[in-house]
C-alpha cells in the first residue's frame, strides 16, 4: 500500500470511529437515560420553582389566620374527606388548626426545605473538599487533627449531635437568627463536613501516587496546580455522589428536628413544623399533617432517585 493510500485509509477509519466522549459526557448520557432519575429531577425542579416563586404562587400569607378558631377541610372531592361538613372553596387544601391556609404554608415550606438542603451542603462541600485535599496531600498535623475530630464525630449518629446542638444553642442569640435557620445551616455543616473531608482525603491519598501526579511533580508543577488541575477533577466523582445524597439528608434533619419541636420555630412554615403543630389535632382532622408528610416523602424520594441515578452514571460498578 502506498503512503497516500494508507493516509486515505486512516482518514476513512477516523470518520467511522466513534466520536470521543469524556467521562463526564458518558455519565451524563447514562443519567439522562435513567427514567427514575429524570422523574426525580422533574419533581425537584417543580419544588424549586415553587420555592423561588412562593410569594407569587401562594394564594395567601402563610402566617395569617383566616378561619378564626375553626379548621376547614380541603375542598378537593376526595373520598377520604367525604362527610366533613366544613368546606370552603377559598382554601383549596383547607386551613390548619388555627385557621391558616394550608396550601400557602406548604408552598412557603418548600422554600425552607430547599434552602436548608442546599446551603449547608454548599458549606460542607467547600470546607470538606479543602480540608480533605490538604490533609490527603500534605498529611502532617492537618491530617492528625482531622482524624481526631473524625473519631469523635463518627461516634454518634448525626441526628443526636444535631439535637444536642439545638437543645442547647437554640436560646442563644445565634439560635435566634432568622428563626433558627442560621443555626440549622451551621449545625448541619458542622456535623457533615467531616465525612466529606474524609472522603476527599481517601481519594487524594490514592490519587497522589498515580503516575500523572508524579509526572506533574517532576516537571515542577506547584502543589496548588497539582491539587486543582490533577487531584480535584479526578476525586470529584464520589464527591458529587456524596453531595447528591447530602441534600436530602439535610432536609430530613430539618424535618425531624422541627417535628420534635426543636428545629425551625413557628410561625415560620416548614413541613416539619406543620406536622409538629398539626399533630395535636391529628385524630380529629388529619389533613394538616398528612399533606406536609406527603410533601416530605415525595421530595425525599425524588432526591434519592436523582442520587442513585448520579451514582450509577458516574460509576456503574457501584450499582447495587
Amino acid at each position: 500500500m502506498s503512503l497516500a493510500a494508507a493516509q486515505e485509509r486512516a482518514a476513512e477509519l477516523n470518520v467511522i470511529s466513534r466520536k470521543q466522549r469524556s467521562l463526564w459526557q458518558d455519565a451524563r448520557y447514562r443519567f439522562v437515560r435513567n427514567r427514575a432519575a429524570m422523574f426525580g429531577l422533574v419533581v425537584i425542579a417543580l419544588a424549586g420553582l415553587l420555592a423561588i416563586f412562593a410569594p407569587v404562587i401562594a394564594p395567601y400569607d402563610p402566617t395569617a389566620t383566616f378561619t378564626a378558631g375553626g379548621r376547614q377541610a380541603p375542598t378537593l372531592a376526595d373520598p377520604f374527606w367525604a362527610g366533613t361538613k366544613y368546606v370552603d372553596p377559598r382554601y383549596a387544601l383547607g386551613t390548619d388548626q388555627i385557621g391558616r391556609d394550608i396550601l400557602s404554608r406548604l408552598i412557603w415550606s418548600s422554600r425552607v426545605s430547599m434552602v436548608v438542603g442546599f446551603v449547608p451542603v454548599a458549606i460542607v462541600f467547600l470546607i470538606g473538599v479543602s480540608v480533605g485535599m490538604l490533609a490527603g496531600y500534605h498529611g502532617g498535623w492537618i491530617d492528625q487533627i482531622l482524624m481526631r475530630i473524625t473519631d469523635v464525630v463518627y461516634a454518634f449518629p448525626d441526628l443526636l449531635f444535631l439535637i444536642i446542638i439545638f437543645a442547647t444553642l437554640r436560646t442563644h442569640p445565634i439560635g435566634d437568627l432568622m428563626g433558627g435557620l442560621v443555626l440549622m445551616f451551621a449545625g448541619i455543616a458542622i456535623v457533615n463536613w467531616v465525612g466529606m473531608a474524609r472522603l476527599v482525603r481517601g481519594q487524594v491519598l490514592s490519587l497522589k501516587e498515580k503516575e500523572y501526579v508524579e509526572a506533574a511533580r517532576a516537571i515542577g508543577a506547584p502543589a496548588t496546580r497539582i491539587m486543582s488541575r490533577h487531584l480535584l477533577p479526578n476525586a470529584l466523582g464520589p464527591v458529587v455522589v456524596a453531595v447528591a445524597f447530602g441534600i436530602p439528608s439535610a432536609m430530613l434533619a430539618e424535618g425531624t428536628l422541627s417535628f420534635i419541636g426543636v428545629g425551625i420555630r413557628p410561625p415560620t412554615a416548614t413541613w416539619g413544623v406543620m406536622i409538629n403543630e398539626g399533630y395535636q389535632v391529628f385524630s380529629t382532622s388529619p389533613w394538616p399533617v398528612l399533606m406536609p408528610a406527603a410533601c416530605i416523602a415525595m421530595v425525599m424520594l425524588a432526591f434519592t432517585f436523582v442520587g442513585d441515578g448520579i451514582r450509577d452514571a458516574i460509576d456503574p460498578r457501584m450499582k447495587i
Binding site: I165, T168, L169, P286
Partner: protein, 307 residues
C-alpha cells in the same frame, strides 16, 4: 485476641469522656441559668439563689465539670430539674420500655431482611428481588415519622385496627415496632443482598460447583457463611439507627420510653436529663461498635492476624 478485647474496652473510656466534655460544654453554652426568672413561673430571688447553690450552678465552670465527672464515676447522673426523680431513676424506669421496643424491632428486621436479602441475591432480577430493592429504597428514603403518620392514618384512624397512641398491650406494639424496624430492615436487606452477590462470584464457589457439590451445600456452606461476615458489621450502625429511630417513634406514639423522655427533656431544657440520656445513647452505640469489632475478629481470622 484477649489483649485486643481488653484494649478496645479500655478505649471506651476516652470516647465517653470526650462525649461528656462536649455535652457539658454545650449545655453550659446556653445562656443564663435554668433558674432565671421565668415570667410564667416567678420565683423569689432567695429561692433562685438557693436553687443555684444547691445545684452548684453558681460555682466556676471547671469546678462544676469536676463535680459532674466525679458524680458520673459513681454513676450519679444528678437530679432532673423538672421532675422529682433522679436521672438514674428515670433511666431505670423508662429504659426497659425502649429496650423492649428496640429489640423487638431488631428481631423483626433480621427475620425479614436476612431471608429477603438472600433470596433476592439468589434469584437476581426476579420479582422478589425487585420487591426487595423497592422495600430497601423506600425504607431508607421515607423518614420513619412520615411512614408513622400514614400508617396510623390508615390502620388506626380509618380502619380502627390498632390504637392511635400508647403502650402496653400487643396491639399497641405492632405499629411502632414495625415502623421502627423498617429502616433497619431496608438497610440489612441491602447489605445482605450485596454481600451475597459478592460471595456468589468468588472462585471458591466456582470450585465447589465444579466439584459437583449440590446447589444447597454450596449456598449454605460456601456462600452464606462468607456472606454473613459483612452483615455482622452492620449491628453497630443498626443499633445507632434503632436508638435515633426509637426516640422519634416513641415521641410520635407517646410510648413511655427513654426516647420520649429525651425529647421532652430537650423541650423543657432539663439539662441533667439531656446529658444523662445522651451519655446513655453514646454508651449503647460505643458498646455496639465494640461488639461488632470483636465479633468481626472472631468470625474472620484475617482481621485477627492483621491486628
Amino acid at each position: 485476641m484477649l489483649t485486643y478485647v481488653v484494649r478496645r474496652v479500655l478505649l471506651l473510656f476516652p470516647t465517653l469522656f470526650v462525649v461528656a466534655v462536649i455535652v457539658f460544654a454545650l449545655a453550659h453554652a446556653a445562656p443564663g441559668s435554668p433558674f432565671d426568672p421565668n415570667p410564667d413561673r416567678p420565683l423569689p430571688p432567695q429561692t433562685v439563689e438557693r436553687l443555684n447553690r444547691y445545684y452548684g450552678v453558681d460555682r466556676p465552670l471547671y469546678e462544676q465539670f469536676a463535680m459532674y465527672m466525679g458524680n458520673l464515676v459513681r454513676l450519679d447522673l444528678g437530679r432532673s430539674l423538672v421532675q422529682d426523680r433522679t436521672v438514674a431513676q428515670i433511666i431505670g424506669q423508662q429504659f426497659p420500655v425502649s429496650a423492649q421496643l428496640g429489640l423487638q424491632a431488631l428481631f423483626l428486621a433480621l427475620a425479614i431482611a436476612l431471608p429477603l436479602g438472600v433470596i433476592s441475591a439468589l434469584r437476581q432480577n426476579s420479582a422478589i428481588d425487585h420487591g426487595g430493592i423497592l422495600l430497601a429504597t423506600l425504607g431508607t428514603t421515607v423518614p420513619s415519622f412520615v411512614v408513622a403518620i400514614f400508617a396510623i392514618y390508615l390502620f388506626g384512624l380509618n380502619l380502627g385496627l390498632v390504637p392511635l397512641v400508647g403502650w402496653g398491650t400487643p396491639k399497641h406494639m405492632i405499629l411502632p415496632t414495625a415502623i421502627l424496624a423498617l429502616g433497619a430492615t431496608a438497610f440489612l436487606t441491602r447489605i445482605t443482598r450485596a454481600s451475597m452477590l459478592e460471595a456468589i462470584r468468588q472462585d471458591y464457589v466456582r470450585t465447589a460447583r465444579s466439584k459437583g457439590l449440590s446447589e444447597q451445600t454450596i449456598v449454605v456452606w460456601h456462600v452464606l457463611r462468607n456472606a454473613m461476615i459483612p452483615v455482622a458489621t452492620i449491628i453497630g450502625p443498626a443499633t445507632a439507627a434503632l436508638v435515633t429511630g426509637s426516640f422519634i417513634i416513641e415521641w410520635f406514639f407517646a410510648i413511655p420510653g427513654i426516647g420520649r423522655e429525651f425529647v421532652l427533656s430537650i423541650n423543657r431544657r432539663d439539662y441533667p436529663l439531656i446529658m444523662g440520656v445522651y451519655l446513655l445513647y453514646a454508651l449503647i452505640i460505643a458498646v455496639a461498635n465494640l461488639v461488632v469489632d470483636i465479633v468481626y475478629g472472631l468470625i474472620d481470622p484475617r482481621i485477627r492476624v492483621s491486628k
